[in-house]
């Protein structure tokens, strides 16, 4: 076990140990270890690295959140009023115990299509910072996630922070699961209405191998509705928006739900979010 006290120390440890894995909150990794799916030999703990726990505003249009920030911090100020969709998504994660330990970086590291913060990143076009001992790169979330639990992060890289654009508009996150607390999503959606550019962006979780951005549905809406801050969306437009979104995703049947139910859930979630955005 290497308990890193600084980002540099963690990066050097990763460079020197090919078998090393990083751990932040442990809420994904420890489940795998407890059930013998993973037998780690060398671990690098990121828990005590203050640089990964910061929330900064590098410029007026961006908020940058450290990968080690736990959900319990994402639910409250100063994040909640700037990124309400991220706060809403965070409040739906697990239980208070899980939210005190689980982190934004861990959600990205695991990269499950059911990860609750990922649709927010996809709808807001977030950028992921990846650091190794000798390089730094910034990757758009659209390039970062490549499949079910797959991403472009290399072994020697640490996710250090996520940059979210601050938008003038409305944003919201909704999730369907079998109960309120402690539930992995069956289907989820994040909608962002950018009043400045007149765009609506929609990203869906748990209904494809990656998070799905509904670009065709977004374009259809732009062509068929006025999208300024005082626009009104008719129920017919909202319904059609939902129906189109449900056709743009590619859900499967699994132990949590069926593809058919997931499509139905998406059509309702997307329509409701759109109406909320313009009410």
């Amino acid at each position: 076990m290497i308990v890193a006290k600084s980002l540099d120390a963690a990066l050097i440890a990763l460079r020197e140990h090919d078998d090393a894995r990083v751990i932040q909150g442990g809420t994904d990794l420890m489940v795998e270890i407890n059930f013998n799916h993973l037998k780690p030999t060398t671990m690098v703990s990121l828990r005590h690295i203050p640089e990964l726990r910061t929330i900064t505003r590098p410029d007026g249009n961006t908020i940058s959140i450290g990968s080690g920030v736990p959900y319990s911090q994402l639910e409250i100020e100063p994040v909640a009023s700037v990124l309400p969709a991220l706060a809403q998504a965070s409040r739906t994660v697990g239980s208070p115990q899980i939210r005190a330990a689980g982190s934004l970086g861990g959600n990205l590291g695991t990269c499950s299509p059911a990860g609750d913060t990922l649709p927010v990143m996809f709808a807001l076009d977030a950028d992921i910072h990846l650091q190794s001992s000798d390089s730094h790169r910034t990757v758009s979330i659209h390039q970062f996630m490549t499949g079910v639990k797959r991403n472009v992060k290399r072994h020697d890289e640490i996710i250090t922070a996520v940059d979210f654009p601050i938008i003038d508009g409305w944003q919201g996150y909704s999730k369907v699961g079998v109960r309120n607390a402690m539930v992995i999503s069956v289907a989820s959606a994040c909608l962002v209405a950018d009043h400045k550019s007149g765009d609506v962006r929609l990203a869906l979780g748990s209904v494809g191998p990656t998070i799905i951005r509904c670009r065709e549905t977004e374009q259809w809406l732009k062509d068929n509705a006025s999208l300024t801050h005082n626009s009104v969306i008719s129920p017919d437009i909202a319904r059609e928006f939902g129906a189109r979104a449900s056709r743009e995703c590619s859900p499967i049947d699994d132990h949590r739900s069926t593809a058919q139910y997931r499509r139905h859930a998406i059509s309702i979630l997307a329509a409701r979010l759109l109406q909320k955005a313009y009410s």
Binding site: G25, G26, L38, K39, P96, Q97, A181
Partner: protein, 164 residues
């Protein structure tokens, strides 16, 4: 599996040595099997039931999901270490006994820790806040009614002691 980890944890105000252990061991395992503190219970080992709840740097977390060797330089408080202010039981434990909130008792230690944490942060929680605070603690016996009654009693006892 190499058993070559040596480290010191700060548990209930005491430094405690862990020797010859495997890096993947959970804090729950280390507390129970290596440090002689069996108060925290293990049922699911996947963060779902809350029976293993401890305070890590003042936050209530599932000890089954904390890799023990990462918890160096942190303060850990288990159910055994909650401050009873010289009495045998803490006010929350006493309320559980008086309100009959314990049946098989398996969920009890985790609930006691979670409720102590809640009342430290929020001495006058609403019903919804209590439900939210213990939403990560599953009890298969009581149906929760008596647990809520116990929280109510603990809140009232603390309020009376503050105003007297």
């Amino acid at each position: 599996m190499s058993m070559n980890e040596f480290y010191t944890l700060n548990v209930n105000g005491q430094p405690m040595q862990v020797q010859d252990s495997w890096v993947g061991e959970s804090l729950l395992y280390v507390l129970r099997e290596r440090l002689g503190l069996p108060g925290s219970k293990g049922a699911c080992e996947q963060g779902e039931c809350g029976s293993c709840t401890v305070l890590l740097d003042g936050q209530a977390v599932c000890s089954c999901l904390v890799m023990a060797a990462t918890a160096v330089d942190s303060t850990i408080v288990t159910v055994e270490g909650l401050d009873a202010h010289g009495a045998e039981l803490t006010d929350v434990q006493d309320a559980f006994v008086q309100q009959g909130a314990v049946q098989c008792g398996f969920c009890t230690p985790g609930l006691i820790v979670a409720i102590h944490h809640l009342l430290e942060e929020n001495p006058q929680p609403s019903e919804l806040e209590v439900k939210e605070a213990i939403s990560g603690n599953i009890c298969r016996c009581t149906g929760y009614g008596r647990i809520f009654a116990a929280v109510e009693q603990a809140v009232a006892v603390r309020k009376a002691s503050r105003t007297s």
